[in-house]
Symmetry: D2
Subunit: 239 residues, 4 copies
């Protein structure tokens, strides 16, 4: 399975605090544990030509992982359109944390994807709501993160097809933290944690969820449907 981990890779360039946590960028950290899990994992970043997402890269990607935050607007619309088309054609998509506001996630959801947020070094506890789900495979009853950014409801997304995690926050909010969707032949997993100043992607349970999420989002299913004008399969009386 071929996984491409996309990152806007801007905080890492500007902020030494972030660089201290992810010296080679969030994308490399994620691609690292995915490679250890046995995937063929590569990376792509905003400032590469075509944001690193050429047709060749997209067409050979089974699952795309997306991290973006301060540069959503710099992602070119025609690239977003190509990514969307690849998702509808079957490529899996794992959207992380602040990717909730990425163009690609918003266009696939059809909503504002807005939420409440707060940076206050507070505790997050992600409860497993669906213990039968493959994305929760190998986890305990919850994942605890000592310090994370808060995201709170209302999260303006379509009702998830499957709700896997709900977060409790120290400051009093809750959040639907693990949500799955299908769009066309593509499967989408949104996973909340991962603020750039915290070592969240070094956490073993978080790595397990993302690894499981990539496996879950892998292309599968029936042939690509045929659309448009169709001849009848049975005789029609009026003809």
């Amino acid at each position: 399975m071929k996984v491409t981990v996309w990152n806007e890779n801007r905080h890492e360039q500007k902020n030494p605090e972030v660089r201290a946590v992810y010296p080679e960028g969030i994308h490399s950290a994620i691609a690292g544990f995915l490679a250890e899990a046995g995937y063929d994992a590569r990376t792509a970043t905003l400032d590469e030509p075509e944001h690193g997402l050429t047709e060749e890269v997209l067409n050979s990607t089974d699952v795309l992982v997306w991290w973006g935050h301060i540069a959503h607007d710099e992602v070119r619309d025609e690239i977003v359109e190509k990514v969307k088309q690849r998702v509808l054609d079957g490529m899996g998509l794992v959207v992380l944390h602040s990717g909730h506001f990425s163009k690609i996630f918003k266009v696939l959801m059809g909503t504002s994807c807005d939420l409440k947020w707060r940076e206050a070094d507070e505790k997050e506890r992600l409860w497993v709501i669906n213990p039968a789900h493959p994305i929760a495979n190998g986890l305990g009853e919850y994942i605890e993160l000592e310090k994370e950014e808060m995201y709170g409801e209302h999260f303006d997304i379509p009702a998830p097809e499957e709700l896997v995690f709900v977060s409790w926050f120290e400051g009093g909010e809750v959040f639907r933290s693990g949500c799955t969707y299908t769009r066309g032949k593509g499967k989408i997993f949104y996973f909340r944690p991962g603020h750039e100043t915290y070592p969240t992607y070094h956490n073993k349970d978080i790595q397990k969820v993302i690894t499981n999420g990539v496996a879950w989002a892998a292309p599968t299913g029936s042939v690509k449907p045929v659309y448009g004008n169709a001849k009848p399969l049975e005789a029609i009386a009026a003809k």
Copy 2:
């Protein structure tokens, strides 16, 4: 309740066959039975200024009914954006038949909304799949239409939150004909039948479904959520 029935109103201008079925346009036929049902129903059409959907009209519309087909591309993007925002803010939306390919439906769904189709004067039977649903109120087990255009699966939409009808077609296909969604504070009902050359909107059961659909899609719910940076509701230890 204020209902605005929008129609591109082009087939009626060009095609005497359509005009024979809907002498005052599909929009007037629909607004007519909605008014009889007690709604404050008005119409809007493509060739009016701002397509008849000024801010004043949109802001005073509780539920918008949408019929379009050959002129989807002529609907201006900024009007689509305004309609989308109104839906997210709570306005109901009832999308009919070929409206599956309208800009507003596609942007709210996030998928291609493509399907199979055929014009062959064939029989359609819409089975009630969810007999507990208010949109099915007052119906029998199915609605039978002697002649309709066929729409067949795969219908490239997100899995409906509620599936109310599934159609059987004489030529061998099936179709998810009555689908509900929520986007933001707005409720959306897609209903399949209504090809312009057939008297479908004069059928009493079809009128009942659209009337029920408008009632179901009416604005309701809690206050508009507050988004963005949020102060904690509880003390945070790290602070």
Copy 3:
């Protein structure tokens, strides 16, 4: 609309603390605010003949509200079976708090309906997750209860068709607090709060939710489906 509020009415008999909060029983408190909201509300309790749920009562009930806790086992199986059949035939059912472990809820869900719990006078905050839902009508972003019993995930229920509320608890847990289901022609709403020692059912927002829930669960929909052997509606070639 006729509403029957069922209560096992045992805590009120045994425990002066409960009687102080609900002098005429939880059932009378709930029936009281439902009557004020304009419903034809009556009560039924465990120790009445047939638990107050005779066929006459059931057949004339549009929505049944259920509160039980320490005497679930005393509810006779044949009454449970009758209530279940009435739900499948279209009667609405609103299950409150410890009713999660009632025979009627478990048999309609097909799961254990188990959960975590704790009595510790802790704060509960019920967040509105679906601000478009009629059950949330008229609410703010959340309901806050200063002291309640905690119910925590994992809650062993089928994934709700609609998730309306998620609770945050002071002690660190979350809970799916407002869940809707359809079974046959009947609509079911489970609502979490309401431990017998707290004045929860005197809270105006809680009353609003239960009142909305009763309205939402009211019988509607198409005719009762016909089951069993069916003659073909179309000619079959092999015949």
Copy 4:
């Protein structure tokens, strides 16, 4: 993966027509192609001690496949209860055809599971509604069966979590033919075709669906949740 294929195995004993199609029983036919697909597949039948479903067998079964029809009532309640408990604990369950009326399926669904039916040698066409679903893996747009028993809507089941197939029948009906559910930690797949007098389970596409269904239903997920009284994870002010 260990799969147990359960069959009541009565038609095969009584009816030479069925024996001609399945000389070693439906269970052996199904276990045969599952073994070819690489599963550790065994069989169990009604007339074995404990219906072949001893605790040892159940505890070592990852996925149970169920076919029953004329002898549902002979399945002992305590065995049904054990199977249910194993499903809630994580064992997958694939229910075939007339198994819709089995005790185990009804108790897990909470509804009557009733439907329309007709034996008339008619054509069935199962359309793939969710082409992204792993249960549809490797299929074309539909499966066509020249002669099958008809099952028609309304099918009295809870709304499926995922709807994979919808059937078209020659006689004019439709049916939700492939439905998934989760109950506790267990995953359930209902698949419609398989009347005993037709060679349906010899059809390669039908075999593919059942093989995919078994893979999909395999146990996965997080640890078994802890239920009951729970100590707080955070300090509670009132204490």
